[in-house]
């Protein structure tokens, strides 16, 4: 598990881009204080999902408005077609810890790990 940030680093209803891991991840805090982590880069093109719009457990990509289910990573509608990778989050004592997925990330064409 990696220590990622503190609870107060992520305002309610917002996402935070974390670049200390590669590829970067986004941590979201919903309006009812649930935390989720997914790969930050949209699976369609190079957009940061942390910049997106959070509603319930869904984040809408800030560029072309595909929505990803933060619980499963599934995408609802084009233009994205592939799910975004999800990571396990544990919140203890106001700190956010993440276990990175061991699956291969679904990065968009032209974006590579470590780039």
């Amino acid at each position: 598990m990696l220590h990622i940030c503190s609870v107060e680093d992520v305002p309610q209803g917002e996402g935070l881009r974390i670049t200390q891991v590669s590829p970067p991840i986004a941590v979201f805090r919903t309006d009812d204080d649930a935390f989720f982590a997914v790969d930050d880069t949209c699976t369609h093109q190079d957009a940061s999902l942390a910049d997106g719009w959070l509603e319930d457990c869904w984040v809408e990509c800030p560029l072309h408005a595909s929505k990803f289910d933060l619980r499963t990573g599934q995408v609802d509608e084009p233009p994205a077609k592939r799910p975004v990778r999800t990571h396990e989050v544990v919140v203890t004592d106001g700190e956010v810890w993440v276990t990175l997925s061991t699956e291969a990330p679904n990065l968009p064409p032209g974006v590579e790990v470590g780039a």
């Binding site: 910049d51 809408e60 800030p62 560029l63 072309h64 233009p79 077609k81 064409p109 032209g110």
Partner: protein, 394 residues
């Protein structure tokens, strides 16, 4: 209405047609869906055709709109045009002489690129994958490209070509590029990207004629100037593909005229996407939107009306239209409705930056927003836009 719909015919196998089929299945519609498309391809995404696909950075497979495991149980009739519609019987005649009858018809035939009347080779327009492949084959580093029209698609082609090392010039008949969608101030700000990236932009002089005998060699402007070119692209807009509806009695003068849920004057005939001009309650008139996201999202409204009926008198609002454009590495995003006399404020950046957030205000309310490389702030403003263009409510 609902129970009687057993077969829905969708004409146009692209974004709006595919979204309609998906909305039908998501609404639990279990009947037959027939999708007729005159291109041979399954639905694909057009925006990359002037961007990453043209640059060779994405493949045709990347463009597919259908997910890998998606099965909408659609009968695809591809490579076939719809040539006539009988609204009374919701019967569509196909180019191969067949006809099909459904309980409802959704027209999703989009737009076709306006073309220059010429038989010279080396002159392109861009609407389909085939167009993009043909253009890309002509885009050689060092070759001279003249783009006619500084609209969004033209500007994107110029930007992509520049990135590929072409020598690019853009010509625009209007004095101010993009003044229609963005207004003069911000139209100029966006069009300023060309000059910053070494692409001359000539405004205010229309093209007189193309030069060359078999292959194009240049463009002559109305003031006599000649611009040499090895390749010419006309980015001069698109017209709604509604000619095939001419004998239906439906109003197709500015696109297929529809109400605020996409219903036409004929029962069980609907229009979605670029081909349609919906009544926009916020504007108080019909308006044809040619944007990707609206073509994706509005079919949901139409399908709900088709399956469940609708109350024509019920108050309705349509979401703020939204489009994006990628030019010279800058992400442009615009949402909302401009009438023309808005006041513009800058919430971030300024016209001198390729990084700004500009808000258009009417009667003290934000009605539109333009972002350049400001996706997060843009998304927040976009959601807060007012639909009240006329200062109705205080």
């Amino acid at each position: 209405m609902g129970a009687r719909i057993r077969t829905v015919i969708i004409i146009g196998a692209s974004l709006a047609g595919h979204s309609s089929a998906r909305a039908l299945r998501r609404s639990g519609f279990d009947g037959d869906i027939v999708v007729v498309g005159d291109e041979l391809k399954r639905p694909y995404d057009r925006p990359p055709l002037s961007k990453d696909f043209l640059a060779g950075r994405t493949t045709e497979a990347d463009l597919a709109l259908e997910g890998d495991e998606e099965d909408l149980r659609v009968e695809w009739v591809l490579g076939t045009r719809a040539v006539a519609l009988d609204p009374g019987t919701t019967t569509v005649t196909l180019s191969d002489g067949r006809w099909i009858t459904g309980d409802a018809v959704i027209v999703a035939t989009g737009s076709s690129a306006r073309r220059l009347p010429t038989s010279l080779s080396g002159v392109h327009t861009l609407r389909t994958i085939d167009d993009a492949v043909a253009l890309r084959d002509d885009m050689k580093p060092g070759a001279r490209l003249c783009v006619i029209g500084a609209g969004f698609v033209g500007a994107e082609i110029a930007s992509t070509a520049r990135g590929l090392g072409m020598d690019v010039t853009v010509v625009e008949a209007a004095d101010t590029p993009l003044a229609g969608p963005l207004g003069a101030l911000l139209g100029n700000a966006v069009a300023g990207l060309h000059a910053r990236h070494g692409v001359p932009l000539h405004c205010g002089t229309p093209v007189e004629r193309l030069l060359g005998t078999e292959r194009v060699t240049g463009v002559e402007l109305a003031d006599g100037r000649q611009l040499p070119a090895d390749v010419v692209v006309a980015g001069i807009g698109a017209v709604p593909a509604v000619g095939w509806l001419a004998d239906t009695g439906l109003d197709v003068t500015r696109g297929l005229l529809c109400n605020q849920v996409g219903a036409t004057a004929a029962a069980n005939v609907f229009g979605v996407g670029d081909c349609s001009a919906w009544f926009d309650p916020a504007r108080g008139h019909h308006h044809r939107v040619e944007h990707w996201t609206d073509s994706r999202d509005r079919p949901r409204i139409t399908v709900d009306a088709l399956l469940n009926g609708y109350d024509p008198a019920a108050p309705a609002t349509l979401g703020a239209p939204y489009f994006w454009s990628d030019q010279y590495g800058v992400r442009l995003q615009f949402a909302g409705r401009r009438v023309g006399d808005e006041t513009v404020t800058f919430e971030a950046g300024s016209v001198d930056d390729a990084d700004l957030l500009a808000v258009y205000w009417r009667h003290g309310k934000p009605v539109a927003v333009l972002g350049m490389d400001q996706p997060k702030q843009f998304g927040r403003w976009r959601r807060g836009l007012s639909h009240d263009l006329h200062g109705a409510a205080a």
